[in-house]
Structure formats: structure tokens, C-alpha cells
């Protein structure tokens, strides 16, 4: 087979195809396994922050940017201006359970 290749001067391209597919599919299968990663993150971040600050659920934005070397996870949460007071009210309601 190799001799044949030497004579007709063409390179075998199938190994290239196989390698490209293996790399691509490994990546795509990874994405497929967690299609709702962002939705899950958003939900859980919202739940945690809501424990302390009253939030409008629509004002929580979670974005994932994939770069060639580094990817960034951007979390943008808009809070009301008087959110400290809201928290104080909440602390009072909880009373002794929350340390000062």
C-alpha cells in the first residue's frame, strides 16, 4: 500500500479525515452533554443572590464567550439602588439567626 502511494505520488487523506473528525466530535459531544449549562448557572446564581438581595430575575444575565485559549464567563446582575436596605429588612426579619 505504501509502495503504491510512493508510485502514484498522492498522500493518503483518510487519516487526516479521521483525526479531524475525532477532535471535532469530542468537542461537540461535550457541548451536547450539557446543553443547559448556562440556564443552570443562571438559575443557581439567581437563587443564591436572591437569598440576600431582592432581584428581578430578568436582570440576571449569564454569558459564556469561548476564545481560542481562554473562555470567559460573564455574570451581569442588575440590583436595585436600595438593595442594602432590603437586605437589612431581611436581616431584621431573621432576627437572632443572623450575626451582626
Amino acid at each position: 500500500m505504501n509502495l503504491l502511494r510512493l508510485f502514484n505520488g498522492r498522500k493518503a487523506t483518510a487519516p487526516v479525515a479521521r483525526e479531524r473528525l475525532q477532535i471535532l466530535l469530542a468537542h461537540e459531544r461535550g457541548l451536547r452533554g450539557q446543553p443547559d449549562l448556562l440556564a443552570t448557572l443562571r438559575e443557581e446564581i439567581l437563587a443564591v443572590v436572591s437569598r440576600h438581595i431582592q432581584l428581578d430575575p430578568d436582570k440576571v444575565i449569564v454569558r459564556l464567550d469561548r476564545g481560542p485559549t481562554v473562555s470567559t464567563l460573564e455574570v451581569d446582575i442588575e440590583v436595585p439602588n436600595n438593595f442594602e436596605q432590603t437586605k437589612v429588612h431581611a436581616d431584621r426579619r431573621l432576627g437572632a439567626l443572623v450575626p451582626p
Binding site: 500500500m1 503504491l4 502511494r5 498522492r10 493518503a12 487523506t13 483518510a14 487519516p15 479525515a17 479521521r18 479531524r20 473528525l21 475525532q22 471535532l24 466530535l25 461537540e28 459531544r29 451536547r32
Partner: protein, 271 residues
């Protein structure tokens, strides 16, 4: 116990309709009662490949909408009495197919036939989803070519998550059917080998259909390739695949073209 089998691929033009017709006819030739169902609404072609295009009166959407009864829409094959066709509609209204409607019809077909072969449209949209929705088994038609293998992988993922069986925590039995295979090119390293494809897709092999002029000859005259020229290489490969679907163990070989004397003397390649 009836089996519902979807013939699917993701990518278009790889041979889903050819394979549905050929496998359906081969199963029928083996004495099974078979219905082939065209899910490609708006772009039906199974009727043409089966040679029944002039006999279509009612279609799948008519049955889903209750305009016609199932037995009015079913077309019996002229060559094999236990082979039937349920054609797709030529109207563009794909939304006429509903999950419940298809479920009801598949349920009814299950009671009447041994095999229900669903010819999926290309893509991953509604039509393709509905074609695989109620399947017990799947034949994933794949060409030895990067885009086809990638799309097959995607479809395998959907078979494992979007079907009724998957939602019940069961598994759709999946088979890869490699079509348009050229053993000589694969040996020269110019084409993905069978082993390459199976390793990548991690799914068992149902059969290898060699690239052949007989496939076009058969569709030209509206006959499944297994009926048109049973001795041809693709017909033998499809017949072997059909026997494997029936649970038989058949050696996996790539049938070769039988070359005539003149071709041999002139050194012409058969395919």
C-alpha cells in the same frame, strides 16, 4: 411483535430513501410483512423510488387529519404482495404532522405489519424528529465522508435523547449502514475505512453497500435495487443487511461487482 425502524442520517443525499426501499423489499422477500412510510413532507420521493408515484391518492397527512383512513392511503407493491407504502404529502404544511397523530398511526401500523420502516427527511427538524420519535430500532445511513459522519454522530445523540424509548429510559437499537463505499479507494487511504467510521461512531455495523451503478439504474425504473437486480453487488449487500435485521448472523463482506468478459479484457473498472 412488530418493529418500528427509522432510516435516518442527518445529512441529505446519502441514500436514506434508496436504503428504505431496498431494505423494505428485502425484508418482504424474506416473507415479512412490511410497510415503508415516507416522512419527507413536501419532498416525498419514496413513492418514486418504489415505482408507485402514479398510484398515490391519499397520504400520511390525510390520515393524520382524518381525511382518509389508513387502508385508503396504503399502497400495495405490484411485485411483492406483503410490501406496502404509506406516502408523504406534497403539501408544504409540515405542521400538519403532530406527535399524537403520528403516534396513533404508528400504533395502528404495528398491529398490521411485522416491520414499519420510517424514511426520515434530512436535517434535524420536526420531520426528522417525528420519523425517529416512536422507533424501536434505527439504521443510520452514513457515507465514508467527513460531513456525513459528523451528522450521523449528531443523529445518534438525538436517538439517545429525543425518542419515546429514550425518554422511558430504554434504548433504541442502533445500526450503522455504510453506503457508497469504495473498497479500493479505502485501501489506498483516500477514503475513511469501515473501521475508522465504526470507531468514531461507536455503533454496530449493519452492512456495507458498495458504490454501484446499479443503484441509479434501479431508481431510474422505480424499483428497489434488491428487486431490480438481485444479483448485483448493492442488492446482495442490502439483502444481507435485511437478514441481519431479522436476527440472522451473516458474514460481513463487501460484495464486489461481477465483471463481464469484455470489461475484464479491457480492464475497465466495474463501478
Amino acid at each position: 411483535m412488530a418493529k418500528v425502524l427509522v432510516v435516518t442520517s442527518g445529512k441529505g443525499g446519502v441514500g436514506k430513501t434508496t436504503s428504505t426501499a431496498a431494505l423494505g423489499a428485502a425484508l418482504a422477500q424474506n416473507g415479512e410483512s412490511v410497510v415503508v412510510v415516507d416522512f419527507d413532507v413536501g419532498l416525498r420521493n419514496l413513492d418514486l423510488v418504489m415505482g408507485a408515484e402514479r398510484r398515490v391518492v391519499f397520504d400520511l397527512i390525510n390520515v393524520v387529519q382524518g381525511v382518509a383512513k389508513l387502508q385508503q392511503a396504503l399502497i400495495r407493491d405490484k411485485r411483492l404482495e406483503n410490501l406496502w407504502l404509506l406516502p408523504a404529502s406534497q403539501t408544504r404544511d409540515k405542521d400538519a404532522l403532530t406527535d399524537e397523530g403520528i403516534g396513533r398511526i404508528i400504533g395502528e401500523l404495528r398491529t398490521r405489519f411485522d416491520w414499519v420502516l420510517c424514511d426520515s427527511p434530512a436535517g434535524i427538524e420536526r420531520g426528522a424528529m417525528l420519523a425517529m420519535r416512536y422507533a424501536d430500532e434505527a439504521v443510520i445511513v452514513t457515507n465514508p465522508e467527513v460531513s456525513s459522519v459528523r451528522d450521523s454522530d449528531r443523529i445518534i445523540g438525538m436517538l439517545d435523547s429525543k425518542t419515546v424509548k429514550a425518554e422511558r429510559g430504554e434504548r433504541v437499537t442502533k445500526h450503522v449502514l455504510i453506503t457508497r463505499y469504495d473498497p479500493a479507494r479505502a485501501a489506498r487511504g483516500e477514503m475513511l475505512s469501515i473501521q475508522d467510521i465504526l470507531e468514531i461512531l461507536a455503533t454496530p455495523l449493519l452492512g456495507i453497500i458498495p458504490e454501484s451503478q446499479d443503484v441509479l439504474r434501479a431508481s431510474n425504473v422505480g424499483s428497489p435495487v434488491t428487486l431490480n437486480n438481485a444479483a448485483s453487488a448493492p442488492a446482495r449487500a442490502y439483502t444481507d443487511a435485511a437478514r441481519r435485521l431479522m436476527g440472522e448472523t451473516v458474514d460481513m463482506i463487501v460484495p464486489a461487482e461481477r465483471r463481464g468478459l469484455m470489461n475484464r479484457l479491457l480492464g475497465r473498472r466495474a463501478a
